[in-house]
Symmetry: C2
Subunit: 201 residues, 2 copies
């Protein structure tokens, strides 16, 4: 039987997405799977589900900030919370979808590059100049990347992607779909591992 | 150094609290700890934090129902979702706090008895007759237990308990505090185990 790819939905401003982005490829590879990366906007999926960011709720906010950092230490990945957080990530996501259609193999690398810049160096991905610098660091043409952010084609593509994600039940990030089974959150790593290693349970 | 007890906050209508209630005592005992059980009302902590039940949000609801059952299978505990869900649990909680003050050692057993009745047999804990039957099954005096539910003393006690929990940062259930460190959710089991076995990380 062919093993299906793992669908991995992330937002460039989601700490738990960043942590998951550091383990999903290795876990997939160990189990003979590939990963299909999907940059989405949590703002859009939250709205569809009537939700808000965990840091927008009093009391829950303090816990979330502590848990982001502790969950990163638990996973063994470096972590800093960017000074500006959360941020709008549509431009980073548009560059992702531009790459996904024009230079497909480089799209996941851009995702990792952006997530690591945000969550290990505190780079503000919502700042056009910082995003351009990041694109050039990644070997992209700076003008082309900046142009993508303002291009109706990639705006429309990102809207379609978010609508498709919502249609598949995605309401947060990271969100995984494995063999049609949905898993939400970095903390579903143990259940996803079990599923991949020994099948449905 | 004396090892501090683990504070375990639960709601009688919380599937994830039920699952956690089935592993917390054994995990604590293996690590030389005891557990202090706290029956709280999620309705009250949700309100303080501006939150709602996961099943009250469209899209998230479908996932949550699937995840309750899958998380129970993952933990190896039987599970059914009661037909009426979620329910008001103040009466089950008042009986808990009555026991906690008058026959302390029997309070955690009442919690487990109620959670198991709800989530393995679908017993409606919000129904006075069902709750009375459950109390009698547990060896309590049915009239006394019914009286507790209407007694201002235990109403007040439960309000104080919820206010204290909110003051300690509790915004959901299950919620654990270990050595002052907060952990939210059945899925923090792995991090709690690590903390207990090898200390802060």
């Amino acid at each position: 039987m062919n093993k299906t790819p793992i669908d991995f939905y992330f937002d460039f401003s989601s700490p738990y997405s960043y942590i998951a982005s550091e383990w999903i490829e290795a876990l997939a590879a160990r189990n003979g799977r590939t990963v299909r990366w999907h940059a989405v906007l949590l703002g859009v999926t939250f709205q569809a589900a009537g939700l808000q960011s965990p840091v927008s709720h009093p009391i829950k906010r303090e816990y979330s900030l502590l848990d982001f950092a502790r969950s990163a230490r638990h996973a063994g990945v470096p972590f800093v919370l960017p000074e500006k957080f959360p941020i709008a990530t549509q431009n980073a996501a548009r560059i992702f979808w531009w790459l996904a259609e024009t230079d497909e193999e480089r799209a996941p690398g851009w995702a990792r590059h952006g997530l690591r810049a945000a969550f290990t160096r505190g780079v503000d991905l919502s700042d056009p100049a910082s995003l351009r610098t990041l694109a050039v660091e990644y070997g992209l043409d700076g003008d082309a990347a900046a142009g993508v952010c303002a291009d109706e084609r990639w705006k429309t593509r990102l809207k379609e992607v978010c609508a498709n994600a919502i249609g598949r039940g995605v309401f947060g990030a990271p969100f995984f779909i494995v063999d049609g089974e949905p898993f939400w959150g970095n903390d579903r790593r143990v259940q996803i591992s079990r599923w991949l290693e020994s099948g449905p349970f």
